[in-house]
Amino acid sequence: MITINEREIEWVPDETVLQAALRAGIAIPHLCAFAGSPSPQAACRICMVEVEGTPRLQTSCTLPARDGMVVRTHTPRIQRARRTIVELLLASHPDDCLFCPRSGDCELARLAADLGIRGRRYAGLKKSHPLDVSSPSVIREPNKCILCGRCVAVCHSVQGVGAIDFTGRGFETRISPAFYTGLNVSGCIFCGQCIRACPTGALTEKSQGEDVIRALADPDVMVVAQVAPAVPATLMDAAEISSITEMLETLSGALRQIGFEAVFDTSFTADLTIMEEVSELLHRVKNGGALPMFTSCSPGWVRYVEVHRPEMIPYLSTCKSPQQMMGALIKECYPKQFDTKGRRIYSVSIMPCTAKKYEAQDLGDIDAVLTTREVDQLLRRFGMQFTPKGPRAPLDVPFAEATGAGRIFGGTGGVMEAAIRTAHRLITGEELKGGPKVSDARGLDQVKVFSLDVAGTQLNFAVVNGLGEVKSILHSVAQKTSPLHFVEVMTCPGGCVGGGGQPYDTDREAIKKRLHRLYEVDRKSASRLSHDNEQVKSLYKNLLDQPLGAMSHHLLHRSYLDRRKG
């Protein structure tokens, strides 16, 4: 038992006082400690509490909860101390809330409001560091940074990239890539996890909302959209809509209302990806190609390989990501079939991801990428909301159909599971014995390793989410000691549902809920196998001929660049 604010709360071993309080619904304000952080740093001191028997205030994020402890979290003394800390943070903060990308959804502003800060008591020197707009995905506004260190913790410890760090000292301290350069020439992989970690407008996505609004108003342009599988699973957080298919149709209805002329399902090209990727895997196994083969649908991971480990390029699947497959199909085939007026197609993709912006810029075919956060803003600009009463519209043929396998691409293990279902069929001619569910690929462990006996051959698989853990696998591949055949890597923890373009308040619980929704729609799907997708089949019949064929190579595969510096 521990007592917090005269309330008795069950004591759970290995918890901090902060965790225990939050569990009991007692909101101790905290900044440097946050859900996605590997270890608290006791840097901001906002989470201070009083513990009976200790004269000094203690940081609850690092204080282990002990049985019998008596804690107070909001005494006048604590409130004063906290307020002063935040007022000092704000002393050098720009007065820019009205025009800030985080306006209305800013943790710092909320914290200040919760602490009752309604005026400036300290006026400090304002910082004047340059804005960094060099990357296609992430904008850095160091003058809004409060040096909480969350972005650094995520980038180094969760993502294992370490593109940014604290530099300089004293008043000049700032978060920056090495040599004070822009993110574009740093080791940054544009995953956007730092954006989600940031409590302020210091890190935001490079928004393309205005470009899309301009295109929608242009009569010479036909604007179409594709929607990634994680997006409806996420929009359901806030909408009272209970199935992914209904959510997709509601989103599609809303997009049409504001001028989109067609809405396609990226899960369709996820199914297509499986056809190509599994064929490629089997080809490699049969012909002694580079193994293990790594998935290539997560652009942050692809950039990680190109920039940090280019010697691993031969192991990457040559398949484009579902976004880019869809982009190529839209640009290559759609206008010929549908836009009789000969207008230019403006292709928008709606993604849970900031690295997709980079990927689109790098490979072309897509004109604008909007994150889940941006699409919500876009629709609000037009006075639209997702309600069950909103207009609905089906997605557009010929890229409308998705199997359950294509839908689960939105979460960690989903590509692996979909691939195993189809691989088993292609190798043995039969479906998986115990049904299509591949439990070993599911769950939030950072690395999942398992094997499967397929027609007398043991195939070994690994699923990684969050790049931090990929290094050990790369090490064994480099040593040529890896027994693995196929490795799914998703850059973000939880996969796309935990992507860098997702709502700021995405936490582990939100990720679990979204994954659950994906597995639900899979379970209820009439077809759960990518190779059974009728529209995919007819695409092969009418255009592509067969997986890995010449047309596939032209439209659906890509090459990679060694982007290591020096």
Partner: protein, 152 residues
Amino acid sequence: MRSVAEVVTGHGPLTMDSLIPVLQEVQAESGYLSDGSMEEISAAIGVPVSRVYGVATFYRQFRFAPLGEHVIQVCRGTACHVKGSLSIADHLKRRLKLTSDGNSPDGKFTVVTVACLGACSIAPVVKLDGEFHGHLTIQKLDALIDEIGGDE
């Protein structure tokens, strides 16, 4: 002058703890830390270069631009401060048009401030190319600079 690679090999197995000593040695060899040398150190220790740069920029002792032909160390210790070392530093900054890395644009001079040169009895003091000059005034300092060709 030893290369970064030579310095690094001289250190045996490297960990994060080796970072500061390695940075110090590399700077001792070449007078400053170049971007390239920090990239090399990062690869050798296996820490991101952002961390190497972050650590290096935290400590005053590290420089990121090559030294000029002449190095002037201005003492900013307590005794010198009382005797007006701030105006000496300011004067140098103006006269030599020093940039933020402490170098004059023509590459002739580098000015660094140091916590204490340990010559408080002759404050205010500067060290010019290794030689002490005490009881300094701005006139004396100007004469020293004129002598080695800092006029323009």
